[in-house]
Structures are given as C-alpha cells and as structure tokens.
C-alpha cells in the first residue's frame, strides 16, 4: 500500500528532516505517527499526500511508484487521499457546506447527488447550524471539524490526519476518532499524526515514532 525506502527530505540548505527513512504500511491499517514537535511528522505526511517530492529515495503509494506516474494521472491519485491539514487550509470564500462538498465536486459529482451526503456529515461533526457560515467566522475547533469532514467526504483509500484533535475538546475528539475507526473498517488506511499522548494511549493501534528523521516502530 505505502512503501518508502531510503527517503531523504531536505527543504533547502538546512539539515535533513528525514534521513534514510524506510516504511511499509499495509492496506487497511491504522497507525499513529508520533514524535516531538519539529521532528518532521507533517513533512512525512506531506510526502504521502504528494505535496512535496522527497529529496531522494523511492516512494510508492497504492502500489505505484510516484515518480513513474504521469502528471495527468496525479489528480486521480490525489482524490483517493483524504488530508486533514494541521492548519486546516479551508477555502475562505466558500461556505462550510461548499468546503466540505469540494472534493466531490472536483471528482465530477453533481450538486443534487452530493447534497444529502454532505449535510449528513456536517451534522455528524456537529456543525449543521453553521452550514452557511464562512470559515473565518468559525473557531479553530469548528474549522478543524470542517477540515476533517472535507477529508473524509470522498471515502478516501488513504486518510492522513495531522493533529486532527489538536483544537477540539475530548468529547468531540472521541467522536472524530470513532469516525476514523468506522472509515478504517470499510478499508481506509489511516495515519494520524499527533503528540497527544493521552489520545495515543486510549487506543490500541500501532505507533510510528519519528525521531531523528527515522521511524521507530513500536507495535
């Protein structure tokens, strides 16, 4: 499913963020990605959602080496990956419902086909009374839930969540984790980056610990 071998990542002239990193994840797995702040968790996810190319090394997703995929095919691949960005990255000119509906629209679905679906999910994350609000009128926790809804609306094969519970209370956090587990049950591979130890200890999923640019697995 995901295979990284001898991955190096360097953003420029400073030190390598990821050093000779090897990682193999099977399809349908559920992992926590932990590590101290600045260790490169977000950077690793960035490589996985094709937001950056590794400085060197081989990266394959869904069994395909990404350096061999032609540019016109990349959008199709990206649509199979749901991302919750650490800084949410919502579109400010679109309402809550439009932000959530965006991945489906991009994939070519028609509005009347997606509307119920989107409404249901927004209700699920507890924001049905803010459906017509614009992102910059929302709290961070609300934005985070919108970002999560947008990431999961397309039922991705791979879900990458960067600190998905960072801005929300534990009650909401449990609900979100439950959502991720449900997705995982229907086959989505999930990776959650977090430095919230209480969250990690709450669940019995394997951890990927990122230290000094390398992954330490402690299953």
């Amino acid at each position: 499913m995901i295979k990284l071998s001898k991955i190096y990542l360097n953003y420029g002239n400073n030190a390598d963020i990821l050093k000779n990193l090897d990682l193999k994840l099977t399809s349908g797995s559920f992992h926590f990605l932990t590590g101290p702040s600045g260790s490169g968790k977000s950077s690793l996810l960035k490589l996985l959602f094709l937001g950056h190319v590794p400085t060197s090394g081989k990266l394959s997703i869904f069994g395909k080496d990404i350096s061999e995929i032609s540019k016109p095919d990349l959008p199709i691949l990206r649509r199979k990956i749901g991302v919750v960005f650490q800084d949410f990255r919502l579109l400010d000119h679109l309402t809550v419902i439009e932000n959530v509906a965006l991945p489906l629209q991009i994939a070519g679905a028609r509005n009347r086909d997606i509307k119920d679906h989107v409404n249901e999910l927004i209700t699920w994350v507890g924001l049905n009374d803010k459906i017509d609000a614009f992102p910059n009128t929302l709290s961070d926790g609300e934005k985070q839930r919108i970002a999560i809804a947008r990431a999961v609306i397309g039922r991705p094969s791979l879900l990458l969540a960067d600190e998905p519970t960072g801005s929300i209370d534990s009650n909401q956090g449990d609900k979100i984790m439950h959502l991720f587990e449900e997705l995982n049950k229907i086959g989505t591979t999930v990776i959650i980056a977090t430095h919230d130890n209480s969250l990690v200890s709450q669940f019995d999923y394997p951890k990927l610990n990122l230290v000094n640019g390398k992954i330490n697995r402690n299953e």
């Binding site: 959008p75 991302v83 000119h93 991009i106 017509d132």
Partner: protein, 307 residues
Amino acid sequence: MEKLIGMNKKKHFKGRISRIYSFKRRPPFFLFSLVTCMIFLMSISFYSGIYVDFKLDILEQKFEDSLTIQIPGTYGKTKKYHTNQLTKVINLIKQNPKIKKFNVITDQEAISLLEPWVGKNSLPKDIIIPTIIDLRVNKIKDFNIIQIEKKLKKISQNIKIFHNVKYIQPNLRTIKTIKIIVLTIVLITLLSLVFIIITSAKTNISLNSNTIEILHLIGARKNYIAKEFIIQNLIMGFSTTIIGLIIGFLCIIFIGSLYFENFYIDLIKATINLRYLTFVLFLPIIIPLFFCLITYLTIVNNLKKLP
C-alpha cells in the same frame, strides 16, 4: 406556478451549494481600480487623439479643396468695367458643376480690412477695390485648374487663380508632427494598459496561490482550477473596460466643452468612423479575453512549480 415557487424556496434553502464558485471570489478592489484607472487614461488619450485627428483633417480638407480667384482693378478703367468683369467671372463659376460653393468678398468687407491703414471714410467713393472670390470644390483632384485659368485669362490677363493649400504648406509638417505625437501617446497608454493588465492578472493569482495549492492537493485538474478564475476575470475585464471608457468619455466631454465650441458633436462625429468605432466596441471583448489568457498562463505556470 407551484413548481416555480418550489424552486425558489429550494434556492434559499439552508446549505445551498453554488454551482460556480468563481462568482464568489471578488477580485481585490485595488486591482479593479488600477485597471479601471489605466483604461480611463487610455480612453482619454484615445478620445482626445481622435478629436485632434478629426479637427486637423477638417483643416487640411478646408485648404486642400479650396481655391481663390483675385480680380485686381485695372489702371484707367471705370468701376463699371470692373463690375462687368466680376459678373463674367461669376457666370463662369456658376457654369462649372464641380464648384460646390463660392463666396465673393464684398467691397465693404475689403474696405473694412483696409481701414487700419487708410483710416475711416478716407477712401474715395469711386475707387476700385480688388475683388477676392473663395471657391470650394468637391475634390481637388477632379478639378482642372489649368482649364479654368485659361478661361479666366480670356476675361482679363490680370485675373489670378491659385490653390489655397499653398498657404498652409509650411504648416502641413506641423500637422503631421502633431498627429504622430498624438498617435504615440495613444500607443504608449495602450502598452501601459497591456502591462497593467498582465501585472494585475498575475497579482490576482499570486494573492490566490493558497487556493490554487489547496485545490491542486485535493485533486483538481488544471482546467477546473482555471475555471475558478475565468468568470471572475471576464467580469473584471468587462466592467473595468466599460467603466473606464464611459468615465473617460464623460471627462473628455466636460473638459473639451470648457474650451471648444460644439466639442460634444465633433467628438461623436469623430468617433463614428469605422476604424475608431471598431476599436471602442472591441475593447470590452478583447480586454476580458486578454485577462483570461494571462490568468490561464499564470495558473499553468504556478501549477508547474507544484509537485
């Protein structure tokens, strides 16, 4: 009818998803006003350019298609003899169909011109004043001066006819220079407009680079992203052009009317020329399309930099 109401209700139903998102993104006001200002400046230089061109053309035409006949007094002849000559010349003019208009400068007018030198009422009653006739023809090229000169010489050897263009011959170069300067100004403002449009379109995209990156990461294709900006650009290009052209027109009319008579009518007459009219009418089409083209190329260029 019920169906219609139902549809309306649906439209205002909570949680509406717009069909086209690019309507929702307003271009920044400073870009809008920048482009409008530039189109305004361009239109001012354009309108004044065509006005000057129009007026200079009329001036040239006036001299080009006009001639002057001079009938001097003959020594030792009576006033009656002179009047007789004048009648013959006028008959000759009237017989020629190519002469559109003629105007005989009257004795009174001629005397009033002499007054500053000779003083009022100091000329003897029977003095013979040389007569000047202004002729206007349809087209100087079709007019045979030599032929009419021959006929005039038959009436009297002293009668002269000449082409008025010789009076402004030295000024023709000046007129040409003014025309070239005006054209240069219009071209410079046009070029600046092109430059401003390119800069604004690029600035607009770089202000929205975050949106482009997010759409790209979610899996949007190049054309979907471009579409997000196309309608916005069409509206921006069209409205700035219309506003700029109209404000420019009103301004030039206001300023022109302070200094020139019938400026308003002349300007409209000048604009109703196929060349200029095409230019004015095509601007609101060309500018939005140009906007879109630059935006599209910038987006493609931006996407190339993303992985």
